[in-house]
């Protein structure tokens, strides 16, 4: 990425769109410190991320990956991973927030569909009470129905006050879920505005 200056508004859904290889994922990874920018800075909640311990930063800014990755143990073990003990009510609450019934708490990870696994991943991030959620192509490995469910969830998470940044190569999806969008092409910020504005700036050759 070069000279990308962008801010993600609190409480809104921002889509980062662009052809593959544009640097969308790198941008997200810089925000929660999985990658470090060679130059420039990342500010979260008004603080330079270099001033925030990475573990604290990542609890504040959750990340959802393209392919859901559940760890050994069942759904409960995944939700409380790294946290010690969490009250059942809290776990049931996050499961409900991702439209899974509380009975999922006792399920084995291997018994879930990919879509359910992705929702458990979102719930797992929510247990940490993040301020923001970064989603890197969260529906890329899902079928149409499961994708629609995740898209529906994005709206309800925003309504809970979460700031959401979603990376997608799919402009139609950006239009469905986001209020705001930025277009990255070859590591350069080429357009910013509503998803509809972005459509006009979409590079021809990217299809």
């Amino acid at each position: 990425m070069r000279d990308v200056t962008v801010s993600f508004s609190a409480g809104l859904v921002t889509a980062v769109v662009g052809p593959s290889g544009a640097g969308k994922t790198s941008l997200l990874r810089c925000v929660n410190g999985l990658e470090r920018p060679d130059a420039g800075r990342v500010v979260v909640d008004g603080t330079d991320t270099r001033e925030i311990p990475p573990t604290e930063l990542r609890r504040r800014v959750g990340m959802i990956f393209q392919t859901p990755s559940l760890f050994e143990g069942g759904v409960r073990a995944n939700l409380i991973y790294g946290l010690g003990s969490v009250a059942d009510e809290e776990l049931e609450e996050v499961l409900t927030a991702v439209s899974l019934s509380p009975s999922f708490l006792e399920r084995a990870s291997s018994a879930l569909s990919v879509g359910q696994a992705q929702r458990v991943c979102i719930a797992r991030a929510l247990v940490r009470s993040p301020h923001a959620l970064l989603m890197d192509e969260p529906t890329a490995s899902l079928d149409k129905d499961a994708s629609a469910r995740i898209e529906g969830l994005i709206g309800s998470l925003r309504d809970r006050g979460l700031t959401i940044v979603i990376v997608t190569h799919d402009l139609a999806q950006a239009k469905r879920v986001a209020e705001h969008a930025i277009l990255l092409v070859d590591g350069v910020l080429t357009a910013e505005g509503s998803p509809a504005d972005i459509e006009d700036a979409w590079p021809e050759e990217a299809g």
Binding site: R59, S69, G82
Partner: protein
Amino acid sequence: MIIDVLVVLSLVAIAIAISWRYRLALEKDLVVASVRAILQLTAVAVVVTLVFKEPAAAIGFVGVMLAVAAYTSGTRLRGIPHAFPIATGAIAAGAAATLVVLFGGRVLELTPRFVVPIAGMAIGNCMATVSIAGVRVREEIADKTSEVEARLALGVPARRALESYVRRAATVALIPIVDTTKTVGLVTLPGAFTGMLLGGASPGEAARVQLIVLFMLMGSIAIAGMSTALLVTRAFVAEGERIVVPAGP
């Protein structure tokens, strides 16, 4: 004695004949391996004779064994940051534990005749363990990079995120010695026991020495395997609770 070796070489001839008859194309390798074995063991016999007389030579000999073992494992772990220091440290730590207990605890006499073979066994086994544990950690982290990053993204410190891979690698490295010890005498008559019997010792004495060897190896291998897994893992942790994605071998 030379005649004995010549008689046994007839078995090598059979191996060569099989290779030739069934076109395994191993004739040359068999000859080279046999010649090398004769030269190497003759040389070792000469060196060990000297080493048994001179304590200083014994220390030097153990040093050479450690260096060769560290080089071998270190090469296997190439691509891992600090591969050679890690291999050297882990092998030395594992072998040192054995030497301290056996000779510090006066289980065996502190003479070159005992120190050299015991150190050799400890170093050799630790070398194999370090290679297995190190390679396994690298593979685990390389294969599961996205899983590791999913853990990191939940705000877990990098070392904690890598814990289960360390555990798996250390377990894999320890399984052979545990199984060997469990089945000793039932599945195989292990090296020390066989060697002692062939050398004319009583079965009771052979069993005693074999037990010493098995128990010392358990301790040494556990130390070498675990320290390798931990050190290699640490080598993959980058500043800011991130991981360095391992390159291939």
